[in-house]
């Protein structure tokens, strides 16, 4: 077992790859599918993503959008876009 592990150690274990992928997609889906706030939010997020993709290749979870209620008559739409590093 120990010897086999030694040879395998350069590759990432399948389980830890699975875990990382899950953490990312689940966090993304929670923020879109389980959002609180207006029903149009996921669609707005998708449209913004589509616009950004016209200019830059970004992942599905590159756009994060949130609506914060700050007091009685102020809501702030918070938009976070992660762009890939310039090559």
């Amino acid at each position: 077992m120990a010897i086999l592990d030694f040879f395998r150690s350069d590759k990432k274990k399948a389980a830890s790859v699975a875990k990382e992928r899950l953490q990312i997609i689940v966090a993304h889906e929670r923020s879109t599918l389980r959002h609180s706030g207006p029903d149009y939010l996921p669609d707005l997020q998708r449209d913004i993503l589509a616009v950004i993709r016209k200019y830059v290749e970004v992942d599905q979870d590159a756009v994060n959008i949130q609506l914060d209620n700050r007091g009685d008559d102020l809501s702030v739409l918070e938009l976070n876009v992660t762009l890939p590093e310039e090559k």
Partner: protein, 269 residues
């Protein structure tokens, strides 16, 4: 008043029906009057797993439509006292279940039973929504595998927004994680998500871990819920989960690889 528990998953084939049969049977073995309701309209399977397929006359949809009364449709288990099955119909009309109809049947069952176990179909459509809508608690059946974990998370979101408790602003549906088809040796080799990994991602209390087991196929071949196979690892793991469901603290078993001889350890297996 009965405790209404939905056994759900999003993803298909992860062990909902196996778990519904095992948990329902186990609760009845503990002396709780229990009915297991098959919500998988058009694809009924619970009858086979419970070994009562030849005794189905009327079904859930017949009761909703007033073509039979509840007692005509309920099948009494011959092995365990206080255990009943309400079969799904084989109709292809997937809108056969209505919220009003389901509510009426669950209300009537609630008067006679301690536990109502709702075996949900896969997916997040009508049938699955009906199965979870009236639930007080959910057992989210998950395999240590990426698509299953993701679908479980979707279902948790739906429980938190589309259930009766969510819509009426009542206490939320109580969530329980049941990890099934767990293979400790693959986890130890780093090939499979561990209990800890899945717990960390889904972040809900762990009700049980059921090992991948030959006993499950055997049980379904025989039509005998696996808890009746008391020697089996899976049967014992289900009994532990049931005990936790009833509020007891039970240590988790079957989380590590059974010790092997030195040769197997060197040469794998």
């Amino acid at each position: 008043m009965a405790r209404i528990i939905v056994v759900t998953s999003g993803k298909g084939g992860v062990g909902k029906t196996t778990s519904s049969a095992a948990i329902g049977t186990g609760l009845a073995l503990q002396g709780k009057k229990t009915v297991i309701v098959d919500f998988d309209i058009g694809l009924r399977n619970l009858d086979l797993i419970m070994g009562v397929e030849r005794r189905v006359v009327y079904d859930f949809v017949n009761v909703i439509n007033g073509e039979a009364n509840l007692n005509q449709a309920l099948i009494k288990d011959k092995r365990v006292d206080g255990l009943f099955i309400l079969p799904a119909s084989q109709t292809r009309d997937k809108d056969a279940l209505t919220l009003d109809g389901v509510e009426k049947v669950l209300d009537e069952l609630s008067e006679q039973f301690d536990y109502i176990i709702c075996d949900s179909p896969a997916g997040i459509e009508q049938g699955a929504l009906m199965a979870l809508y009236f639930a007080d608690e959910a057992i989210v059946v998950t395999n240590p595998e990426v698509s299953s974990v993701r679908d479980s998370d979707r279902i948790l979101g739906i429980l938190a927004s589309k259930s009766r408790r969510a819509e009426k602003g009542l206490d939320p549906v109580k969530e329980n994680l049941l990890l099934t088809r767990y293979n400790p040796s693959r986890v130890e080799r780093g090939d499979m998500l561990s209990v800890e990994d899945v717990k960390e991602i889904l972040a809900i209390p762990l009700l049980g871990v059921i090992p991948e087991s030959q006993a499950v196929l055997k049980a379904s071949n025989l039509g005998e819920p696996v808890v009746l196979d008391e020697q089996s690892d899976a049967g014992q793991a289900y009994l532990d989960a049931i005990s936790r469901l009833e509020g007891n603290e039970v240590d988790f078993r079957f989380l590590t690889e059974p010790k092997k001889g030195i040769f197997k350890r060197i040469f794998g297996g």
